[in-house]
């Protein structure tokens, strides 16, 4: 059977839900049917994944610092703009290589997913 509404124990009658990952099928078959012609894109995927990971980690660090009160308004503003710019640049790079968020979420096996 392909659908199991009986698994839902509590349903908040929400109108909107985070959508099931849209590119799931593509991402997984790319992992499993690893095709040799995808090498360049594979490398791009890897590099962008690392960059995105570092961006997220640095952003978290910045948020810790803001919460800890150790940054002044000007520093916060500068950081914010930088992260926004980084985020925009990531979007451009992803588009250029035809990669989605799902593609960047590498499975690290025992470590779980990257992000």
């Amino acid at each position: 059977m392909s659908a199991r509404p009986d698994k839902v124990l509590v349903d908040p009658l929400a109108a909107e839900w985070p959508a099931p990952r849209p590119e799931l099928g593509d991402a997984l078959s790319r992992r499993i049917n690893a095709d040799p012609e995808g090498v360049e894109q594979g490398l791009a995927q890897l590099v962008l994944t690392i960059v995105e990971l570092l961006r997220q980690l640095m952003e978290r660090q910045a948020l810790h610092r803001i919460e800890g009160g150790s940054l002044d308004d000007e520093e916060i503003e500068r950081l914010g703009r930088t992260f926004m710019a980084l985020s925009d640049r990531m979007e451009q790079l992803k588009e250029a290589f035809g990669l989605s968020d799902e593609d960047l979420n590498l499975d690290l096996g025992p470590l779980g997913n990257l992000m």
């Binding site: 199991r4 839902v8 610092r65």
Partner: protein
């Protein structure tokens, strides 16, 4: 239950199913979900990177922001 309520509940259950089946569960060594050798190598490299950054975060070491 209306058809749209059933559909929404199917989505609700599917999200949690996906989270479990793709992100959790026992991982056996030798599992072939990633069949390309160079991706395995990358695992090792990334693992070291992730561990060291994660450990630094845990210890409250401020990562360089510039």
């Amino acid at each position: 239950m209306t058809a749209s309520e059933v559909a929404r509940q199917q989505d609700v259950a599917l999200i949690d199913l996906v989270d479990r089946l793709l992100d959790s569960g026992v991982v056996l060594a030798g599992d072939i979900t990633l069949a390309v050798a160079d991706i395995d190598l990358v695992y090792v490299g990334l693992r070291a990177l992730i561990s060291s950054v994660a450990a630094a975060e845990r210890e409250g070491v401020a990562l360089p922001l510039r």
